[in-house]
């Protein structure tokens, strides 16, 4: 049994890791590490939504907001205290606390799915509006001026811990993004295989049944929401470091909608799907950015509709031929999630 488990473990765990590493290693041959870092950041952001929407059934339009909160809180803390790495920690803790409060209010208030989507959307737009109105000198947190629609430029970015002046090169920053992305992916997989993750999937299937079984659904959903907020915040921190400026555009409807499109196109109910979706669509968008013939959003919209019609289960779903059960068969000595199966399949192709 042990050897069988190890065999299975090698197969579903190390194969994607090896393939992933190869992709990350060879990608810089085809594109600049600067662009690739952005793809990693967006992939992380996409996972954060893929986790709660694809597995918990929570459609949140506020992912852009948590991304933005993560970025802004990093910037504000690092301007005030220097210490980029401590700021990373602060930004994540702060965002997780904020999402926990926000999530608890919604889930303990028994907000329905549709209302949750609307409330998170409004939340994002309010923050966007608010930050756009903070141009005046009265909007200052410590020594950080919020700066309204101009945003906040010029803040300490990540460096090598031994020297303030040792900034990360594009290559090193790219590697950092890759490592964080892989760690986050492993973390999500671990969550989904745990008791908690299975209950989350069960909640997606039938909330009332799970409740009548004895699980506090509100608690589980709030926890999932917080984890997702933390991942989005991590992406936000990396984005701030990548761009060197944060603006209220992070809270725009555009970004929040894009995250949803990435997830749908990539494949709902998988972890790989949202990552692939974000990378493909961002690459398309960046490619289109150089021409003025067709509007970006027009193309995005067409791609979304085409994807929904041609691959109803997304890119990742299209690769995993048959519909697979969420925990999978126990006969193999362990239970797999739907996403694992997909990843397995993808890594074999």
């Amino acid at each position: 049994m042990t050897s069988q488990q190890t065999g299975g473990f090698t197969h579903v765990f190390f194969v994607p890791i090896v393939c992933g590493t190869l992709v990350f290693l060879f990608a810089p041959v085809f594109a600049s590490t600067y662009t690739l870092s952005l793809l990693c950041v967006y992939a992380l952001l996409a996972i954060s939504l893929g986790l709660i929407w694809g597995f918990g059934g929570i459609l949140c339009f506020g992912q852009g907001a948590f991304f933005g909160i993560g970025a802004y809180s990093y910037v504000i803390f690092s301007i005030n205290f220097g210490l980029p790495w401590t700021s990373v920690l602060f930004a994540i803790v702060f965002t997780v606390l904020a999402t926990t409060c926000f999530g608890a209010a919604m889930f303990y208030g028994r907000l329905g799915d549709v209302y949750l989507a609307v409330v998170t959307l409004v939340f994002t737009l309010i923050l966007n509006r608010f930050l756009n109105s903070t141009a005046g000198p009265e909007y200052q947190i410590g020594s950080a001026r919020l700066g309204g629609f101009n945003g906040i430029p010029g803040f300490p970015t990540l460096n090598f811990p031994w020297s303030d002046a040792a900034f990360l090169s594009d290559m090193v920053f790219y590697i950092l993004c890759c490592v964080i992305l892989v760690i986050s992916w492993v973390f999500c997989r671990w969550i989904l295989r745990s008791h908690f993750g299975r209950v989350l999937v069960a909640i997606r299937e039938n909330e009332e049944r799970v409740e009548l079984t004895g699980y506090d659904v509100r608690l589980y959903k709030t926890a999932a929401f917080s984890i997702s907020g933390g991942l989005a915040a991590m992406a936000g921190v990396l984005y701030a470091n990548w761009a060197g400026i944060v603006t209220p555009n992070l809270f725009s409807l555009t970004l929040s909608a894009e995250i949803i499109i990435w997830t749908v196109v990539g494949g709902l109910g998988t972890l790989f799907g949202p990552m692939i979706g974000s990378a493909v669509l961002t690459a398309v968008k960046l490619g289109l950015g150089h021409q003025t013939l067709v509007d970006n959003f027009f193309v995005m919209g067409i791609l979304l509709i085409a994807a929904v019609l041609v691959f109803p289960r997304g890119i990742a779903g299209a690769f995993s031929g048959r519909r697979v059960s969420v925990f999978g068969s126990k006969k193999k000595g362990k239970w797999q999630t739907r996403s694992n199966r997909t990843q397995e399949k993808l890594s074999n192709d």
């Binding site: 069960a202 009332e208 049944r209 409740e211 009548l212 925990f327």
Partner: protein, 237 residues
């Protein structure tokens, strides 16, 4: 050991002024197999929902295993030892049979115990063959068995079954009644059912609901001989 596992006092539930359950008092003893019958709309399902915390009672109190459960959220009531099979389909549709049972079993048991529970329940209800099938792909009869098994998977001390025999063939009804007989020494069972043949097979005692109130109660013979019961319920069937 508490002898009365479920005790309900003056329970009322109203939906916008309509009293679906009207001042009902009721109790269920350990290892009792009790049936609840009554015409459509009598309030049987609402009574169940009020006990397990899905619907808020407007007045009255509920005790489960000696603990007050009135107005507790549904998951807390479940943890006090109530397992319920609702009248409407209520399964984790996209998951397999064994996953459905595992989720329920794992709630209050260790991983190892949960696996044992899942195996023994699949064995009891005869659904091992379908362990990896999605419940949405199952035939109605098997789904009813999965519903029963997942209500049992938490090892409840009170099992509420709302129309477990609905839509089952005669042989399936016989199977179900023998399963319930086997369960009798593990848990108290309260069954809502329209199928009179089934009720006669299993019931030790019967309560008749009518317009939210208890119309009659007693042994099957007493109840089925009762003239008023014949008139409002059996006659109309």
């Amino acid at each position: 050991m508490v002898e009365t596992v479920l005790s309900v006092e003056g329970l009322s539930v109203s939906f916008g002024g309509v009293l679906a359950v009207d001042n009902v008092s009721f109790s269920l003893k350990r290892q009792e197999l009790h049936c609840l019958i009554g015409p459509n709309g009598a309030g049987k399902s609402t009574f169940f929902k009020a006990i397990c915390g899905v619907v808020r009672p407007s007045s009255g109190r509920v005790w489960i295993n000696g603990y007050e459960a009135t107005r507790l959220p549904a998951h807390r009531v479940a943890r006090l030892g109530v397992g319920i099979k609702m009248q409407v389909p209520n399964l984790l549709e996209g998951l397999s049979v064994e996953e459905n049972l595992w989720i329920a079993a794992r709630c209050r048991h260790s991983a190892r115990e949960a696996e044992d529970i899942v195996e023994s329940l699949m064995n009891l209800t005869g659904i091992e063959k379908y362990r990896t099938s999605l419940v949405s792909d199952l035939a109605h009869g098997h789904r009813q068995h999965v519903e029963l098994a997942s209500a049992l998977a938490t090892k409840p001390s009170i099992l509420l079954l709302d129309e477990p025999a609905a839509g089952l063939s005669e042989t399936e009804v016989d199977e179900l009644s023998s399963i319930l007989q086997q369960l009798k020494n593990q848990t108290a069972i309260l069954v809502v059912e329209h199928n009179t043949r089934f009720v006669r097979m299993i019931a030790e005692s019967i309560t008749v609901f009518h317009k939210g109130r208890i119309l009659a109660a007693g042994s099957p013979d007493q109840v089925f001989q009762n003239e008023i019961v014949k008139k409002v319920y059996l006659g109309s069937n």
